[in-house]
């Protein structure tokens, strides 16, 4: 059974169809969330919010793009909303905490390229990290990324280019493993 049949079933209230649609796409969405935030609890929360919204708005899916692309655009929206909230909540926690400490996270001395690449990737701002994650690691095309993030294709390319340039600068002189 393909996605369109499952979507039709889910729209008609068939929970089994909805479940099969979920089983088909949830692993990739969860992995994407986990890679984006690096935290199991947040990945679970954002994946859950994504699928709730997808099933609540299934009527709005017109089939103009692949279902997975539409689903991932919802996922990205949930991710960015979640990250904004997280930033706000953490800022308020810091306001309240009397003995809160911020982890230094300084591993600049790590000699291994792969480890340094991972840590530099994590340090990129979200707007640059996500295109790298989607294009270079997850293998999406710029066209798909543009649809997911609701940005022009050229912007996706430009952000990826900027991210790579920053990574190359950050990794200059690192010993290769």
């Amino acid at each position: 059974m393909d996605d369109s049949e499952l979507i039709a079933g889910a729209r008609a209230g068939d929970r089994m169809a909805a479940r099969r649609l979920y089983d088909r796409h949830a692993p990739r969405v969860y992995r994407l969330m986990f890679r984006s935030v690096g935290d199991e609890e947040l990945a679970r929360e954002y994946t859950q919010d994504t699928f709730v919204k997808v099933f609540q708005r299934l009527e709005q899916y017109r089939g103009d793009s692949a279902f997975s692309t539409w689903l991932h655009s919802v996922a990205m929206s949930m991710l960015f909303t979640g990250l904004r909230r997280l930033k706000r909540v953490r800022a308020r926690e810091l306001e309240l905490a009397t003995a809160a400490s911020v982890p230094a996270g300084d591993d600049a001395g790590d000699p291994h390229l792969r480890d340094r690449l991972q840590s530099e990737l994590e340090r990129l701002p979200t707007r640059l990290r996500v295109p790298v994650l989607l294009h270079d690691i997850e293998g999406y095309t710029h066209r798909e990324i543009a649809q997911m993030l609701d940005i022009p294709e050229g912007t996706s390319k430009a952000r990826l280019s900027e991210a790579r340039a920053r990574l190359r600068v950050a990794l200059a002189g690192v010993v290769t493993d």
Binding site: D23, P27, Y30, F34, G38, E41, I137
Partner: protein, 205 residues
């Protein structure tokens, strides 16, 4: 400096190694998705009419026992003032689904926060319930009907508290709960919630 091709190759390699989730809780996520996206038709009206006044009385009773000594020490009458400015959430639940959801939510979140005070005495904090309530909080914050500034401020504070509870370790210790306790205290969350419940119960037909 590393060239473009080398960087691309290195990034592709990360696909197999970087942040691979070990045991994605997909079944657990589905249970939550199913409950939220395909909810059973609730019999809210009769249920809330029966339980809400009782819950309000119980909470007020609990509040008197729990907080009266502290309140007596305070010279200011701030909680009472807060209660008076909190908007009445419900007047006719049958006309507005938001009111029913909000009322149910406020009862449950109050129950959870009251339980939290018991955590100091070694009881389990219900993280799963907090997670569910956090999701509802965010839906309510996003709702255009939650435009009242007092209600929004309360929801913002509840979001903060629930997010803190969700991030607690399984065996939370007193220092873990301290920050939450501090937030509850500084923002007078429980008095505001109790005020909202009390106002709501008196407005029931």
């Amino acid at each position: 400096m590393m060239d473009e091709q080398e960087l691309e190759r290195r990034l592709r390699e990360l696909k197999e190694t970087w942040r691979i989730p070990r045991n994605p809780p997909l079944e657990e996520i589905w249970q939550a998705v199913e409950a939220r996206a395909f909810p059973a038709v609730p019999e809210r009206r009769s249920w809330t009419r029966t339980v809400l006044p009782l819950a309000a009385m119980l909470l007020l009773g609990f509040g008197l026992g729990q907080f009266a000594p502290r309140l007596l020490q305070q010279k200011s009458s701030k909680p009472a003032e807060l209660v008076s400015v909190i908007p009445v959430v419900a007047t006719d639940q049958s006309r507005d689904p938001f009111v029913g959801i909000a009322t149910d939510y406020i009862e449950r979140v109050t129950g959870l926060l009251v339980t939290l005070t018991d955590a100091h005495r070694g009881q389990m904090i219900r993280i799963a319930q907090a997670r569910e309530l956090l999701a509802t909080t965010r839906l309510l914050i996003d709702s255009p009907q939650a435009s009242d500034p007092h209600l929004r401020a309360l929801l913002d504070d509840l979001e903060l508290v629930l997010a803190q509870i969700v991030r607690l370790p399984p065996r939370a210790t007193s220092p873990d709960v301290y920050l939450i306790d501090q937030t509850l205290d500084q923002r007078e969350v429980l008095p505001r919630l109790r005020g909202l419940l009390a106002e709501n119960s008196t407005s029931q037909p």
